[in-house]
């Protein structure tokens, strides 16, 4: 997917001016966080499970090479194939070759952010292979030619009315010429249209929530069951997953599943949890004849051993964006790439370059709500701050900010000078502002006064001046 992260500020302007988006976001902000809170409260050991989930991922990352090779051995022993893709281009080439090897014309896909990351759909279309998104949200945005705006709810930026219009536009040619207004009717129509596409597909492509090293299984959770049709009906099943999805054991998967669904949607468990373990065996009634796992690195191994490593614990639940007031204000598209919200603000600079995504780790108040709900306790504000430090070191911080900071720093490190200057500033701001109590505009403070009044200090001087005048230091 082509990044527009460099245009973050423009994207923000468009997002704030979009009434449909703002309507959708107002529902998301209340719904997800409330359901997560209730789910966490219902499970007394939830906080302890978060610790265990963190520890499992830390252990895996410390031994990532071992578990990946173990996973490969198991998959191979089952009759499947593991393909290593260092870059997005490698993954696209591997998948295209696999599709062509069976003469595929259509590929049934279940939702995969990694597929978005490598821009798989565009690539397949160029080769004349039609990718069919089967997750309802992904299907809607595929029809609209839009990128996802949320990692677990890709069409969350749309209202029901927008979906109704989109379906009418695209399904009319299939004989559905009634504009539907009920949620269930829209789902039923999509299900009907998609059913034949599952049956026709030559290849099923899914992502993976976890790759289990001890069994060679890929594990998927969905609420729609679309992944199960994607991976059982076609002749070939391709799993596309990034390397940090591997975990040691099924026991570990049980722990992670318990925090994943609760953190994501507030469910105790997703409706479908599916393990795919190799191709169809002799005697099996169904299942794919070929089973391939494409393991994507795409810059992740470069994070190992660095101060950013903790982001690789992420299990893609979306809780950080569901609780982020910045995401809640601007939605996912403003971030300009596949991964929005706090986890995206940390991961995107790594994957597309910090020059491209320099705004993302800066557009945070460090309110800390993301870290407080992260099921694997990733210190997201700390990692965003590390990006700011790298930007500062590499002189990517805007010049005006650097100059302002340098001036402030010069003064702040000289308490005597600081006192004199703040005394003057206090006097001026108080003198001209106290009749109104506040300023409606103020030189050099346009960013503030464009939307807010600026409170004027009362007369009498700074605290330090008053303290000196009224109290003797001991």
């Amino acid at each position: 997917m082509q990044s527009t992260a460099h245009a973050f500020k423009d994207n923000v302007g468009a997002a704030l001016a979009d009434p449909n988006l703002q309507d959708s976001l107002s529902k998301l902000k209340v719904g997800f966080s409330e359901r997560r809170r209730q789910a966490a409260e219902r499970l007394p050991e939830f906080e302890a499970l978060r610790d265990r989930a963190r520890d499992i991922k830390n252990h895996t990352l410390a031994n990532l090479d071992f578990y990946l090779e173990e996973f490969e051995r198991k998959v191979t022993a089952l009759g499947g194939h593991v393909h290593w893709a260092p870059t997005a281009a490698d993954a696209r080439r591997i998948i295209a070759d696999l599709c062509r090897s069976v003469g595929a014309r259509t590929v049934a896909k279940s939702k995969s952010m990694v597929a978005e990351e490598i821009a798989l759909n565009e690539h397949l279309e160029e080769l004349g292979i039609a990718p069919i998104e089967t997750d309802l949200g992904e299907y809607i945005i595929q029809l609209r030619h839009e990128p996802p705006s949320h990692i677990i709810a890709p069409a969350v930026h749309l209202t029901k009315d927008q979906v109704a219009d989109t379906f009418l536009e695209h399904h009319r040619k299939l004989g559905f010429d009634k504009r539907l207004t009920e949620r269930n009717d829209l789902v039923a129509e999509a299900r009907y249209v998609l059913r034949q596409k599952f049956l026709d597909a030559d290849v099923g492509l899914t992502g993976a929530n976890f790759l289990v090293a001890e069994t060679g299984s890929s594990m998927l959770v969905t609420n729609e069951g679309n992944a199960d049709l994607s991976n059982t009906l076609p002749r070939m099943h391709i799993v596309l997953a990034s390397i940090e999805k591997v975990i040691p054991t099924l026991e570990d998967a049980a722990v992670l599943l318990r925090v994943l669904a609760r953190s994501a949607t507030g469910q105790e468990s997703s409706a479908y949890t599916t393990l795919n373990t190799g191709p169809k065996r002799p005697g099996d009634l169904d299942g794919p004849e070929q089973y391939h796992v494409v393991l994507l690195d795409n810059g992740r191994s470069g994070v190992l051993g660095t101060e950013m490593q903790e982001i690789l614990r992420c299990i893609r639940c979306g809780a950080c964006m569901n609780h982020c007031p910045v995401y809640g204000a601007v939605g996912g598209h403003a971030y300009g790439w596949v991964y929005p919200g706090p986890m995206g603000a940390v991961l995107t600079p790594q994957l597309v370059g910090v020059e491209e995504a320099s705004n993302l780790p800066n557009a945070s108040t460090f309110c800390g709500r993301c870290e407080s709900v992260c099921p694997v306790r990733i210190p997201l504000p700390k990692l965003m701050r590390h990006w700011r430090e790298r930007e500062f070191e590499r002189h990517l911080t805007p010049r005006a900010v650097r100059q302002g900071l340098a001036l402030w720093s010069f003064v702040a490190r000289r308490p005597g000078l600081y006192r004199s200057l703040t005394a003057i500033a206090n006097r001026m701001l108080s003198l001209f502002g106290r009749a109104e109590g506040r300023y409606r505009s103020l030189p050099l403070a346009g960013g503030w006064t464009r939307f807010r009044d600026f409170p004027a200090p009362p007369s009498g001087g700074t605290f330090h001046a008053q303290w000196k005048a009224t109290r003797k230091q001991p």
């Binding site: 407080s372 701050r385 070191e393 900071l405 720093s409 206090n426 807010r452 009362p458």
Partner: protein, 277 residues
């Protein structure tokens, strides 16, 4: 004597903290740069509350800022230099208390990690961190203050500032003390824990996003019907006051310490002084 200070003295007569008084402690007040420059009354309110709880309060003259502007911009070298200056200024006090969860959290949660590569400085930073507190939680959790004798006739709503809430666990302490203020009724917002959009330099670097956030906050405040908004951090308060006033709201905005210290009759943040017109 300045009127703010005089007001504090007058109310002080009727304010007593009925508790087993701990032995006097030598407490350094970390005024914070915003309180120093824009709202000195908060500093005097803090002094009053601490003294009434039995502390001896000093204001070390070499203090300036905790370094967050540099820290949050990614300028680690400047942050370290300022942190060392703060460590010097507050050497030797039993406790360092700030009327701010943000600045308090900077000292108690963020300084030590700045010196991971220097064991001697890290030890000093950890020593300061262990002595550093946000004002209201220091009163309640350390000094065991559980009531004040102030009076405030009004309905207030309380915003939980992010650093105080999530780094320092400041949540029930201000509500407990506010519960003892005569005449005061508390009405909670729907989402008092959601950020107001201040975020230090964030509010001027991303003014549109900040405005959307504070706009939502002001709607939440208005929906409570409260006549007064309180919080424990002046940055958030200035942001919310500025937005409320731009919208023409009549809600008055004050630092929680002012109300607890019986200084709730001062002009609110952004209000003109009596006779100044």
């Amino acid at each position: 004597m300045h009127p703010i200070f005089a007001a504090a003295m007058v109310v002080g007569v009727s304010t007593s903290i009925e508790n087993d008084r701990p032995p006097p402690r030598r407490v350094a007040l970390f005024v914070t740069c915003l309180v120093d420059l824009f709202r000195p009354a908060v500093g005097f309110a803090a002094v009053k509350l601490l003294e009434e709880a039995g502390c001896t309060v000093e204001v070390p003259p070499l203090q300036v800022c905790c370094g967050q502007p540099a820290y949050n911009t990614g300028d680690r070298a400047t942050t370290r230099a300022i942190a060392m200056q703060v460590m010097d200024a507050f050497e030797g006090y039993d406790a360092v208390v700030a009327p701010s969860g943000s600045c308090g959290g900077m000292l108690s949660h963020h300084y030590p990690a700045l010196f991971d590569d220097d064991p001697a400085l890290k030890a000093r930073a950890e020593d300061l961190a262990a002595r550093s507190h946000e004002l209201i939680s220091f009163l309640v959790d350390v000094l065991n203050v559980d009531r004040v004798a102030a009076r405030y006739d009004g309905t207030v709503t309380y915003h939980d500032s992010c650093s105080g809430l999530r780094e320092l666990g400041v949540k029930e302490q201000p509500r407990r003390l506010l519960g003892s203020v005569k005449g005061l009724a508390l009405r909670e917002m729907k989402t008092p824990e959601v950020c107001c959009g201040f975020g230090g330099t964030f509010c001027v670097k991303y003014p549109e996003i900040s405005n959307a956030m504070v706009g939502e906050k002001s709607a939440d405040i208005a929906a409570t019907g409260a006549d007064t908004l309180l919080a424990g951090d002046l940055g958030c308060l200035m942001n919310m006051a500025g937005k409320l006033q731009r919208e023409g709201s009549a809600v008055r905005v004050r630092h929680v310490a002012e109300v607890l210290a019986g200084m709730g009759d001062l002009p609110a943040i952004g209000e003109p002084e009596a006779g100044a017109r």
